[in-house]
Amino acid sequence: MFQIVRKQEMAKGSIIRFDITAPKIAAKAKAGQFVIVRVNETGERIPLTIADKDAFAGTITIIFQVVGKTTALMRSLKEGDLIRDVVGPLGKPAEVENVGTVIMVGGGTGVAILHHVTKAFKEAGNYVIGIIGAKEKDLLILEDEMRAMCDELVVTTDDGSWGERGFVTQPLQKYLEERYDIKLVYAIGPIVMMKNVCNLTKKYNIPTMVSLNPIMIDGTGMCGGCRVTVDNKIQFCCVDGPDFNGHLVDFDELEKRNNIYLKEEKESLLYSIR
């Protein structure tokens, strides 16, 4: 059993942050890795990226958006409540080195993961440019934390309620046009955002890493449910990823695969409400 020591509602109750006691995971977790969470005995196993960790306090931070039954159930948990199973840290850590100038692009809850990777890149001595976006101001998370870490930060919202109006790809294009020293782009967010970022960086031939979030069960390479096509080869996101060269990922396929259980998700949510 794993205790929730801190709960914070980050955006209108739809994005939630948990700090969970998991000393063994906290001691090992690196940026880019994830945990699998099962809330209770009848729960499903869902992957959630480790947004931060505190090895000294023995806690890990997860940030999730409420989208389905399990995340709705997690929102109802309070500080001090217990989560049945948390296993990790899974997946390969992000490959962090000092490459010079990097652009970190994040959208929606993706910023939660991005912020952990950004921290690592900053600590490695890179010049970090951050671009984060959300649908509207209230859904934007971790802006202050990102601003503290990044050498430059651009904020966008789809409706223009905060920062620049539009998508993260617009400021990204501007940077790619203006600066010639960008060595790497890291994009974490909704599939469509990562796809658009990759289409853009491909034109400028800038290496781009993305962090994928397919459906998973065990997270240890056993089920193969998380398989993604990278460079026309099947890769298991849980053991070969979750970070991949974005230019080689088949995003359309990933999007469709993630939608397989939309009907069941609704059914499950309805069942739990009843």
């Binding site: 009848t42 990790g88 069960i217 065990d218 193969g224 096509t229 099947i234 397989i260 499950s268």
Partner: protein
Amino acid sequence: MFEQDVKYLKFKTYLNAYCPHCKNTFNVERKDNKWLEFKAKYKGEEIDLKLSPYLDVFDIESSVPIAEGDMVDDFLCPRCKKSLISTEIKCGECGSPVAEVIIAVFSKLIPFFICMKHGCTWHGISKADENKIKLKIPRQEMPEQDQKLRTTNFMEVPYGYTSELATLEAGRCLQCKNPKCVEGCPVNIDIPAFIRLIAEEKFDEAAKKIKERNILPAICGRVCPQETQCEAKCIMGVRDKPVAIGNLERFVADYERKMDLVKVPVIKNKINKRIAVVGSGPAGLTVAADLQQLGYQVTIFEALHELGGVLVYGIPEFRLPKSIVAFEIDYLRKLGVKFELNTVVGKTVTIDELLQHFHAVFIGVGAGLPTFMNIEGETLGNIFSANEYLTRMNLMKAYRFPEYDTPKPRGNKVVVIGGGNVAMDAARTAIRSGASEVTIVYRRSRQELPARHEEIRHAEEEGVKFMLLTNPVRYIGTDQRMVKAMECIRMKLGEPDSSGRRRPIPIEGSNFIIETDLVVVAIGTGPNPVIFQTNPDLKRNKWGYLEVNPETMETSKEFVYAGGDIVTGSATVILAMGAGRIAANAIHKKLSQLP
């Protein structure tokens, strides 16, 4: 018929005895009183004899008293008055002459001998004839859930033997002096000994006998491929069907559990050394049990949230009830084994960290990486690895969706690729979850199907179709990238390959398309990379599995041992247990030399 069979094996058969000369019957039946009636000559006089008509009760009543140890001069048929004394056979106990009558057992006539010396209780049939009788007993099949009914639930299909059926089946064992079945068993259970104990109705002792060699009989009795192991070597199998060793094993284990006879041994000799076991599947459980009983302190690390490895995520409830696995694991817990769930060795802790705290490490993580065929369309929606499909249904209990949160894979026309036990499990699970049509597609012919015969039979009974000598070449998807059809090619069998099975060869131009909306790929697994990512120093063989010394199961790293599928590739529960046993002995030997 059934009653009489049982009586025979309890050695209480009511004898139907006949005169070998005139075929007159000696049986007399009045009210509740039955006996065999003879004439005999004693001290020159003709007297009447009455014998009890049961094989195991030997009472003689005579019209004149006969002194103990005296010899009756002759046995006569009351009708033809001819002597019944055998010219060939002498009493097995005292060497006196014996009377020979004919008895009917299983509608077969067999000579039966009675010692002439009064007081000597030797009677019976010769060993050769006993074996002939045993051949006449048909192999007893387990009662099973109704074929229609069982496709609607996930409860276990065979109910198991009753004690009557078990004793009857045990009676078929020839008790060979040089038993071949033991050679066929990967853990060398003393099979004739435990079967003999069943025949004597000492079920409790039989269970103990098995447990000397195998700690998980309830599981092995259900999932071992007996027909290629112990039962393949059974001498009964040459003339008739082999003794149902697996069913008997299952029976005694169930009996012991249900009658609450399982006793946790007290471990007297404590050894102050710690062992880490990685993976709670069959190999890990065996190592843990063996070493804990020797006095070591064992901790099992499991990546999933439940213990049992393949026994809980892979093998479905209807083949191996989860309660049985839980019971066996509880036994280990009572022995003092500690368990650490949700711990991925290689991620949460590494082998090197374990070696700092433990004196030895055993790796039994299985070969949990599903293999795909790498053909077009394999990432379409509703194409699953067998691991994913079964994990969803078994471990996550998706068949009870939405009560359990994990979504149940939806499919009406299900295709399962592969012909092993896992393929059968997936197909039978699909039938139970409401698919209207389930087809197994296998590239070789029926003979080569690697699944247990029982699983194939069950699958067929439940309506699974077999499309043999067929292989998929690509999958066709809908606009939503869900699978809607599969293109297949017909195969023929060529020369035997390295595995000894005939190599399947595609027949050019024989392609055809079958409709399907759910595909399960059950073509085997490969080595899981997780443990190697943090321990590249563990030497691997050319297939990517762990390389071990076959005599000790020690890996290239000292004090690190391994066994089960991570060494051999996909194999069976019992082979993993056999490897675990070797490793446990080797670990004990090595650690005993340490101060």
